[in-house]
């Protein structure tokens, strides 16, 4: 049996938020491994620490202790500049609220991260290709406010894909969508995972959405259960 390539190794991370005098433990001694081509689903109740875990993995936040190895390199100790570079080149992050730039069209939102790395002409070409991949090739010039929630989320997925990330993180990407749009978005993830071997880590607390993943981990009170 072929050994799966480990992309992310999480070792005993802890994270506590301070709300004034109160310390709220969000992650307690979490360890896990993410392999190339995984479609990992993280579930758990509200406040269980799912989003906190995803933000640590997506390098939006740092754990208080423990380590996160991205291809065997500890990213928790890196300066913000290096972490930003990793976010740009190696990771894709999809927010629950789409998080598009309101004044940029669909294609401009998608090409924005790529413009950090290459000329805008080639970025545009690639952005259109990625938008095609998520089924939005006919709305490339639309502004976010001219798109439905599902379409906006597809633009956010395309933006996450534009720099060919090693891992895509999606924080409850269907939470604000109706069931049809949600299925549409999930199909995109499925296709990306099956056809392009994209590694996907997705949070959901919808039971039926867990069926899209290969692996499911559940968090409760900041710990894996």
């Amino acid at each position: 049996m072929q050994q799966q390539e480990t992309i992310i190794q999480v070792n005993k991370i802890f994270k506590t938020y301070r709300l004034g005098e109160v310390h709220v433990p969000a992650l307690k001694n979490v360890s896990l491994t993410i392999h190339k081509g995984d479609f990992l689903i993280i579930t758990g109740r509200n406040g269980s620490g799912k989003s906190t875990l995803l933000r640590q993995l997506g390098l939006l936040d740092k754990p208080d202790s423990g380590e996160i190895l991205l291809k065997n390199k500890d990213v928790t100790k890196m300066p913000e500049r290096e972490r930003a570079s990793i976010r740009l080149k190696r990771l894709g992050y999809i927010f629950q609220e789409y998080a598009l730039i309101a004044e940029l069209s669909a294609v401009e939102n998608v090409m924005l991260p790529a413009m950090m790395l290459e000329s805008s002409a080639s970025c545009r070409k690639r952005a259109i290709e990625v938008l095609k991949k998520v089924g939005l090739e006919y709305k490339i010039k639309n502004l976010p406010r001219q798109l439905s929630g599902g379409e906006q989320q597809k633009v956010a997925i395309a933006r996450a894909l534009i720099n060919h990330p090693e891992v895509i993180f999606a924080d409850e990407p269907t939470a604000n969508l109706d069931s049809i749009a949600a299925k549409d978005v999930l199909k995109v993830f499925k296709r990306l995972n099956e056809h392009d071997q994209s590694t996907i880590v997705m949070i959901t607390h919808e039971e039926e959405e867990t069926a899209y993943g290969h692996r499911i981990i559940k968090l409760a009170d900041g710990s894996l259960v």
Binding site: D61, A99, E108, M115
Partner: protein
């Protein structure tokens, strides 16, 4: 050029193009008002000082005042001196004045005022007294019995100190006043009353040189002062040198030197101007800062998202610097148009009426540029500070607010 350098330009351009036009217009309008506020006060004070200076020049001293050389009471042979002055490069005209030491008397009231014997035609070329007649008419050169009086001499107006105790109170055109010269009273008919609004001038009276000759047959072509106007304002020093070179041996003073008290008043106005301008700049700076700070702070989440997807913080800061610069330049342009197309013409047509002069708005190009630069730099700082703050806060706080 690195591809990423285009990002702030593209982001700011799209922002300007597609953001709420009403908000954008409001920001630019606020900037223009702040800019107008910055240039209005100094322009007003420049206008007051300029109006004040012009009053000194046009009603009393001319640009240059010539007085008898040291040790002499009079400029003798004043006609010859005037010919020499008027033939000097840069001189427009000159007029000799002879101070008549005397007392005015009317209807039982009397007081001492400066009465000057002049050639009305020459004086007309140097001062604006002839244009400021509010009642009656200007003097004719051959008039031997007429007198022209300043409004302060005849005024019945009540001043802040109460009734003007020195006024002839109500003497009007056609009335006879007596000029007591030596021990003799000479009767004069008031031909006209003038009001320049400049009290030094309005406390003067004028008679003709012919009238003085009649009063004092020994008077021959003498003057206690000669007022000179020049072609180019501000060129006093050069013309004074030319007058000396032409052989004018009398004492020659610029209007500033001749009216040292007046110029100290001008200096005081300028000092007030500086103080008020500092406050004006400060208020405008705070206004601009707040407007831009609010605009950028409201985009906190957008900045967080840009950071989250890997856009480098310096590019985000550059974007907001560009935006702030565009806001401020647009505000300056709009403010300049509003100021020069509406405000300045309005105040030229309806100047501020002050007791000493009518003040219009006068823009000093140096002040204008300094304030323009200040506004742009303040706007850039106002854009930079929140952008730096937000790009330095924790990423999660930038996107979702403080936990």
């Amino acid at each position: 050029m690195k591809a990423e350098y285009k990002i702030p330009f593209i982001l700011s351009w799209k922002h300007l193009l597609r953001s709420n036009k009403w908000t954008l217009s409001l920001i630019i309008f606020f900037m223009s008002i702040a800019f107008i506020n910055m240039i209005f006060v100094p322009s007003l004070f420049n206008g007051i000082v300029d109006g004040f200076n012009k009053q000194i020049i046009t009603t009393t001293t001319g640009n240059i005042l010539i007085t008898p050389r040291d040790g002499k009471d009079f400029i003798s042979d004043s006609s010859e001196t005037i010919n020499r002055i008027e033939s000097t490069d840069g001189v427009t005209a000159a007029s000799a004045q002879m101070l008549v030491p005397g007392t005015l008397k009317f209807d039982g009231k009397k007081g001492s005022w400066s009465i000057y014997a002049i050639n009305p035609d020459q004086e007309k070329k140097v001062t604006t007294v002839s244009e400021k007649i509010i009642d009656g008419e200007y003097l004719d050169p051959s008039d031997e019995t007429g007198i022209l009086l300043g409004n302060d001499i005849t005024s019945t107006e009540t001043t802040n100190e109460g009734d003007n105790p020195f006024s002839l109170k109500g003497a009007s055109v056609g009335d006879t006043v007596a000029v007591i010269f030596g021990n003799t009273e000479y009767e004069f008919t008031i031909r006209g009353i003038f009001k320049t609004k400049f009290n030094t001038a309005d406390q003067r009276g004028f008679i003709t040189q012919e009238a003085l000759k009649k009063m004092n047959p020994g008077y021959v072509d003498e003057a206690t002062s000669i007022s000179v106007t020049i072609n180019l304002e501000g060129d006093e020093e050069n013309v004074m040198q030319s007058l000396k070179d032409r052989g004018v041996r009398e004492n020659i003073y610029s209007w500033q030197q001749a009216s040292s008290l007046m110029s100290s008043v001008s200096d005081s106005f300028l000092s007030i101007n500086v103080i008020l301008s500092i406050f004006g700049v400060l208020i405008a700076a705070i206004t601009v800062f707040i407007v831009i700070y609010i605009d950028i702070s409201s985009r906190r989440q957008e900045i967080g998202i840009l950071r989250a997807i890997g856009i480098r913080p310096y590019l985000i800061r550059a974007m907001y610097i560009i935006l702030s610069a565009v806001y401020s330049v647009a505000g300056v342009l709009l403010g300049t148009v509003l100021f020069f197309a509406i405000i300045v013409p309005y105040f030229n047509a309806h100047p501020f009426v002050l007791p000493i002069a009518d003040a219009k708005l006068l823009v000093n190009p140096g002040d204008f540029i300094a304030r323009l630069e200040t506004l742009i730099w303040v706007a850039i700082a106002a854009g930079l500070v929140p952008a730096v703050t937000i790009t330095r806060t924790k990423l999660l706080d930038a996107i979702w607010g403080s936990k």
